[in-house]
Symmetry: C2
Subunit: 241 residues, 2 copies
DNA sequence: ACAAAAGTGTTGTAATTACACCCATGT
DNA sequence: ACATGGGTGTAATTACAACACTTTTGT
């Protein structure tokens, strides 16, 4: 309990975001290009320092709003994990809180970003190329997102205010990377109370029968869950095994 | 990207632990009594500062070993959430990483603790009385534990090396706070591949038929999950709604 | 008419629930 | 003998996977 000198090293805290969306039938993540050393010119997850009188969650919401140009509170944002291995940032002792954010397919090419460049990239393409330990962070956030689709109504966060069941199904297929039976999916989501609220409108696309439009319902959890055929749920563990 | 003065406030990081166990048919948590201001004399979750060249996960494992007197790597330990609201600690800017740890019913009354006192307390009794924001932290960890019992084999972490199915069932009943059908539970856990490994021994208690002994199997996930009748799964969200 | 996507029906199977019932031990 | 907890059998119910099939639009 007595504070010995090395017992309370001061450090800096950042909030890094994995902002995911579905664009062009792919799962994409918002990246910024680093303008300074280290990793100058490399792509990284957007993020920034937590300010002196700021809650980490608030810092994440602020970053999210800055990067997307949208009101961050309108988007899904959740804490995922802390990454604090010494040496993970060459500039010194920096611990980061990783956040998962979900955005609908934004029309804008991301304005107002404070980095030298920002763009959406397919996660498959981004994984393995990122600066710092951001590949690990992205992988962890991806796993969280895949899991959340099973047990929660998170998938609707990928959709605009009004969406069709086909669009929602595409979210599942893209995030999980596997096909989902259209017929069973339709029944499942329409019969889960509170998942979808039907609207009195239809959307007619280029081809095919017009689809009914829905908006998000009040439910946040899915019971029974929407299960993937191949199950590989793993509880995040901090044990040093 | 340019580092303005207030953009990288330095702060101190702690790791706080909710160490849970089942004792006397109750879910209990390990608490320490604070020896210094603030909250002197109040009970709090064990924890401590993350050292200068230490990973937060390693700090948690170290604290766990100190408090329980056991090798921390033998116990289940997982990151749960970050609590960093400014003002949560009157001593200054302190952000904490909350960890959930699970221990079997330890025979020792916790030796070697560095706080002025340490003891197991029923969580029902502890909730609402703790120092700092530890009530919130404990509640969050509890919810995580309840959830993990559904989808993972975490319950075995509450048991000693060898245990009976009845003991395992008690864990579920105590953590969930609801009765579990003995017959169906037995079938469920014995038919889930990799959950339990039968031992060639039986334990005969004071009364009743001797029960077969088992040890943990290699499985970490439960499929299909062990579902509670009343479902209230809620994904932790950091959105400032 | 045809292609394409939306949406409904049906059937076999897996899993859960809610029981009744038997087994092995100490007193 | 009987109480107590361990363990098995069975039937009704629910949910799901895998299909065939119909509907509604644009070309």
């Amino acid at each position: 309990m007595t504070a010995r000198p090395r017992d309370h090293a001061t450090l800096r805290l950042t909030a890094d975001l994995a902002i995911l969306t579905v664009r062009d039938g792919q799962l994409q993540v918002l990246l910024v290009q680093r303008g300074n050393e280290p990793y100058r010119g490399r792509w990284a997850l957007p993020g920034g320092f937590v300010r002196e009188d700021e809650d980490p969650d608030a810092a994440a919401a602020r970053e999210l709003a800055e990067e997307t140009g949208l009101d961050g509170t309108a988007l899904h944002l959740e804490q995922v994990a802390v990454f604090g291995t010494p040496g993970r940032d060459p500039r010194g002792r920096v611990v980061t809180v990783a956040y998962l954010a979900i955005a609908p397919d934004l029309p804008l090419p991301v304005a107002g970003s404070d980095a030298s460049g920002a763009c959406w990239q397919p996660v498959d393409q981004a994984l393995g190329t990122l600066a710092f330990d951001h590949n690990d962070i992205l992988r962890t956030c991806l796993e969280r997102a895949r899991q959340a689709l099973e047990y929660t109504t998170l998938a609707t966060a990928f959709c605009a205010d009004a969406f069709t069941i086909g669009e929602l199904r595409t979210v599942y297929e893209v995030v999980w990377g596997m096909p989902v039976d259209t017929r069973n999916f339709h029944r499942k989501v329409t019969k889960t109370a509170g998942f979808l609220v039907p609207l009195d409108a239809k959307r007619t696309s280029e081809v095919g029968r017009p689809a009914a439009l829905y908006r998000r319902g009040p439910a946040t959890t899915l019971y029974p869950p929407m299960l993937r055929s191949t199950v590989d749920y793993d509880e995040p563990s901090a044990s040093s095994t």
